[in-house]
């Protein structure tokens, strides 16, 4: 068993993690308002409450490491380095969006930074990442592939098949389970007997670890070890992050009674951003006003991106039929 060799982050790194979480939060808050204003269509699954996970994981990744996100993927994308403008523009269906307006929330792509798509289908992220890891290993690189999925994805066959093959072939892949207790509105415990995802992982001979998904220091340390293991050829890790989404499954959906107000309130108090702020203040690493100023600065940047995205041109309708096959696509451009 490998022991954690990842040191606690230094102050600049901690502030960077804080900043990333705030950026994700501010973006999501702006998107909620945009959704309510009728500026967006379709699904908009926010990451509020789960920011510590993607921020903590991506801190260990390089641009050529791959990340396969989920339908709740704005955080996965921003943490991997997508800039807020590309996120907003995409959700407004504009040509300068991450996917040129083709994809919206669940199809955010930027391969040049290893963002291999958020995904509208639950399950395949595990297998796609396992496959990318297969290539990374076969071509003798030290690159790593990361798959995000929720507790809902765990009950899809892809989880079983992916865990089995990744473990069996010692592939450089990291499985990040964001266990937020509900698959849409179905409680995890109501559809499965074994509610420990890590225990399930172990049954495949897969190195499996549990992290407090609201504590970025815990996520950061354990993800760091997982990425290091993968990069150094020691095989895959399943990291089960216990977390909670503060908002409804998708914007526009009401709380229909599947969870209590008290439960939501309890988890809101375990807000990952507040938790890191408390740590920084307690450890005397930052002052209240410094953190406020940082949040304000990030907020201004996010607002500016949002405003600019609304002015981005709509895509040319004629481009809809480009890139179906290589024949109407030209050579690859990252």
């Amino acid at each position: 068993m490998h022991k954690s060799e990842v040191a606690l982050p230094d102050l600049p790194s901690l502030l960077k993690l804080y900043r990333k979480m705030v950026e994700i939060r501010k973006c999501e808050e702006s998107l909620i308002k945009a959704f309510n204003s009728g500026l967006m269509y379709g699904g908009c699954h926010t990451y509020i409450g789960q920011e510590a996970i993607a921020s903590g994981v991506s801190a260990h990744l390089n641009d050529d490491d791959f990340v396969f996100g989920t339908h709740r993927g704005h955080g996965h994308a921003l943490a991997k380095g997508l800039n807020p403008f590309e996120l907003f523009a995409e959700l407004y269906g504009r040509s300068e969006g991450a996917s040129g307006g083709r994809g919206g929330s669940m199809h955010l792509f930027k391969p040049s930074i290893g963002l291999m798509g958020t995904n509208g289908i639950v399950g395949p992220s595990l297998l796609l990442a396992t496959g990318a890891a297969y290539t990374f290993k076969m071509l003798k690189t030290s690159r790593v592939a990361v798959a995000y999925f929720g507790d809902g994805g765990v009950n899809n066959g892809a989880f079983h098949e992916g865990c089995n093959m990744a473990a069996n072939w010692d592939l450089p892949v990291v499985f990040i389970c964001e266990n937020n207790l509900y698959a849409t509105e179905i409680p995890f415990a109501s559809v499965t007997k074994q509610t420990s995802v890590a225990k399930r992982g172990e049954s495949y001979g897969l190195h499996s670890v549990v992290a407090d998904g609201t504590n970025i220091l815990d996520v950061h340390a354990k993800a760091g070890e997982a990425v290091k293991r993968a990069r150094e050829g020691h095989g895959p890790t399943l990291l089960e992050c216990l977390t909670y989404r503060h908002r409804s499954h998708s914007e526009g959906m009401r709380e229909s009674g599947y969870r209590t107000k008290e439960e939501v309130q309890l988890w809101k108090e375990r807000d990952p951003i507040k938790a890191l702020a408390a740590h920084l203040l307690e450890a005397g690493l930052a002052t209240d006003s410094e953190l406020l100023a940082l949040a304000k600065e990030v907020g201004l940047l996010v607002d500016e991106s949002n405003k600019r995205a609304l002015e981005s041109p709509e895509p040319d309708a004629a481009t809809q039929f480009e890139h179906v096959l290589a024949a109407n696509s030209g050579s690859l451009h990252a």
């Binding site: 289908i121 297998l127 496959g131 990318a132 290539t135 076969m138 089995n164 290589a326 696509s329 690859l332």
Partner: protein
Amino acid sequence: MRELSYIDAAREALSEEMARDPTIFVMGEGIGPRGGNFSTTVGLHAQYGSERLRDTPISERGFTTLCIGAALAGARPVVDAMFVDFALDGISDLVNQASKMRWMSSGRLEVPLVVRACMGVFSSAAAHHSGSYYSFFAHIPGFQVVLPSSPADAKGLLKTALRSRDPVIFLEHRALLATKGPVPDGEYLIPFGQAAIVHEGTDLTLVGLSAMVPKCLEVARTLAAEGITVEVIDPRTVAPLDVATICASVKKTGRLLIVEEDYASCSVAAEIASRVGDESFDDLDAPIRRLHCGFAPAPYSPALEKAMAISTQTILQKTRELLAE
């Protein structure tokens, strides 16, 4: 020219391409040292090793999607699904991920993946080992669907598939695997979307797919002895589909019979009929006719299978009927 069997010709293509391109690897059940249920990879494991001839658990959905991910990372995977019936387990991610990836990423990603599998009603394989299913894939933007009908085509088309930049569904009819024919040595590639006129004629156009092509040829030879010349066309790929060659033939003949061992509704033959109807209406001297297998799952008993499959005799009879129309 030397003669090879269909399956040997396809394996030669695979081996040549694996030697040329180190990013090609094959995944499937028993395709390693065992060499594949249908001898698709015999001898290759000894040459290229376990990483490039990867025996898998029975997780068709899993390793199909794994291969999609591997392709995104720069490899050129081959899924050897054995029977196309098994490949259906992976259809969700083939459709949702593989076929759409180039488009979704606005041309920044591509999935050079080959899914090869055997298909067809043959030797009492019954309901779970006799499917064809190519029309599913041909319906979806982003796929190329290949149906080789001869050893030379098996080689030339598989080599093209292994250099293609888009996902390819490559289906080999089990009735053809042992058939022999001349196969060119070395570099031999057949472009997709180019139908072959396998027999020239002026009285009627017969379009056959996969294992129906040799049967159509037999019909053409029988009729030639009676002074009736039938043009036999093998589209070779149903996506892309070369309708122009079929229309040019219909311009000569005025009569079109399409033969495919698949269900009639929403079939490739229905698509061909529709497009020829659109483009060559004024050349038609009789209605376009289609010949399909019956609308029921494939059976076990040879007596039942006979009722399901399309015989040369049936094609001959349908051809005569259409000539008289």
